[in-house]
Symmetry: C2
């Protein structure tokens, strides 16, 4: 009788286990950062949470910095995917731009440890890896494209540079979110001193910087 081909070769199983453990370590790291602040990550606590000793982590990541780098890339990828999905769903519309601002806030509320790592810089000496920067640049490109389409669609003035609009959206989104996270991180988007201001901000931009014919 011919030997049955296993679903996974030993090598594949090893790889799968390795990947699963790596993912578990990253998740544990996020939990620690969420509890202690992004800067306070420490390997022993991560190890404890995944049921091993600190030195064993070095089987999966060559250094603590590598864990930060992996989380940065993961976070940027997650957030970029969200932005792309929003773009696909809403196209270049005011509703889409409002959703994008709300999504920035929601991302911070739901993933405060990633928000800190990506958009504040609380970890002394942390520098994103090239792979992380690739994701960060992708994010900028998505945002720039949305604004460009909004200009082409006549929603925004063509005589104002797309990057200026983009910077305004970034600054306002970040300002609201940073204040929300600093003061009322437990409140959901749409509520609280700052989380409730998104529609007002959209109205602000829309009234002043839409082309006349779009009013």
């Amino acid at each position: 009788m011919q030997q049955a081909r296993p679903i996974l070769t030993p090598e594949e199983r090893r790889q799968r286990n390795h990947d699963e453990m790596s993912a578990a370590i990253l998740q544990a790291a996020r939990d620690v950062m969420r509890t202690n602040g992004a800067a306070d990550l420490n390997l022993q606590e991560i190890a404890r949470r995944v049921g091993m000793r600190a030195p064993s982590l070095y089987t999966y990541f060559p250094s603590k910095a590598a864990i930060y780098e992996a989380l940065f890339e993961m976070g940027m990828r997650m957030y970029g995917d969200q932005m792309e999905a929003l773009h696909a769903q809403y196209g270049a519309t005011w509703a889409g731009i409002e959703q994008a601002m709300e999504n920035y806030l929601n991302f911070a509320i739901e993933n405060p440890e990633l928000y800190q790592l990506l958009f504040e810089r609380p970890v002394p000496g942390f520098v994103p890896s090239p792979e992380g920067m690739l994701q960060a640049n992708r994010l900028i490109d998505i945002a720039r494209n949305i604004v460009r389409e909004a200009i082409e669609a006549g929603m925004l003035r063509a005589d104002i540079p797309a990057d200026k609009y983009m910077n305004i959206f970034i600054a306002i989104s970040h300002g609201l979110t940073a204040q929300h996270m600093a003061n009322e991180p437990h409140l959901p988007a749409g509520s609280g001193r700052f989380g409730s201001l998104i529609p007002d901000m959209i109205a602000l931009i829309r009234q002043v910087w839409s082309p006349p014919q779009a009013e």
Copy 2:
């Protein structure tokens, strides 16, 4: 011959020396934070810069946390004084509000280590002392009063709560400043991707949320 009365008694001299050394320690701490990031303060480096050994710092401050707390209070006091001076100079005017936004950015550019400590929260476990909170609350009161006067002066709509205006100003100021500091901290206020947007933001608010008769 009667003995001349010294300018300072020994006790007074001791006190003066103590105060001067305390101030030097705080300044050294600021220098360290500016170089390494606010979270990376360490006592040995402070001591080195003031020409003593780390344990000697305990003559002046009972703990590292006490140094952070003193800096927080000092920073809030400095910034509050600046706001009061602006208020006295400009009263409740659009120029004054624009100056206030620019001043927030300038404070961050000139005192990045204090900006981090006061307005971002990069130091794990840091909690302002009651004295620090007193200064922080004073700051809020100053801001609230300016907005109230602006409403009374007819610059802002009376049907929108003063605190909502205040939160909008805070969020926008902080958004611009945080992005400026993250991306172009070396550029002066008024320049760069974000530092140049203050007049636009003022125009935005002014056009949309001024009472009709003020247009």
